[in-house]
């Protein structure tokens, strides 16, 4: 199954990174970045059919709300990886800034949905 491949990949690269960290700490971060990017590539390939299925079945309900949800998902994934990388290399300040930025972006892209809810609420109440 795919999960065993992912775990094997992570364990092998974890050992390599701890080895490289022994000699040169700055290289360990680069190795960590490469490993997380490789894993993210693999996860995106796994995610491809799921997203296609979501878009296909979102045609029944209105299309654009699902697009916003997908966009929020993309922002969250990218921001989370960057945040974890910063935390691993010890830069907590950077990690928190990335977290703040991703929250603002998510809020910004969720506002139209909120607006539609409010409008429908107002029409119900009148």
């Amino acid at each position: 199954m795919e999960i065993f491949q992912i775990i094997a990949f992570a364990i092998v690269s974890m050992i390599l990174i701890s080895l490289v960290k022994e000699f040169l700490p700055s290289y360990a971060i680069l190795c960590l970045l490469a490993c997380s990017i490789g894993l993210l590539f693999y996860v995106l390939n796994l995610l491809e059919p799921i997203i296609a299925w979501i878009i296909q079945y979102s045609a029944y309900i209105n299309q654009d709300s699902f697009k916003i949800i997908l966009k929020a998902g993309g922002i969250a994934i990218v921001a989370q990886t960057a945040q974890d990388l910063c935390k691993d290399s010890g830069m907590n300040a950077l990690a928190n800034k990335i977290e703040l930025a991703s929250r603002c972006l998510l809020l910004a892209c969720a506002l139209p949905l909120f607006q539609t809810i409010l409008e429908s609420l107002v029409t119900f109440l009148q």
Partner: protein
């Protein structure tokens, strides 16, 4: 799942580290720093290509 990328970077890291120690022991600290810098730049150039591919992939997948 290109594990060979991680192997490549780990190999470069170890080689540069050994070179670094070698140069430091033989008294050439500045050249040691140069080799470390060169290795870093090589790895970074490889990584930048991977990062741009990743972002293009994410952009197309989540239609950001």
């Amino acid at each position: 799942m290109d594990i060979d990328l991680v192997f490549k970077i780990a190999a470069i890291g170890i080689i540069v580290a050994v070179l670094n120690q070698l140069l430091i022991r033989s008294g050439r600290e500045d050249q040691a720093m140069m080799t470390t810098l060169a290795g870093l730049i090589v790895v970074l150039s490889m990584l930048v290509q991977q990062i741009s591919d990743l972002f293009i992939n994410i952009k197309s997948l989540f239609n950001l």
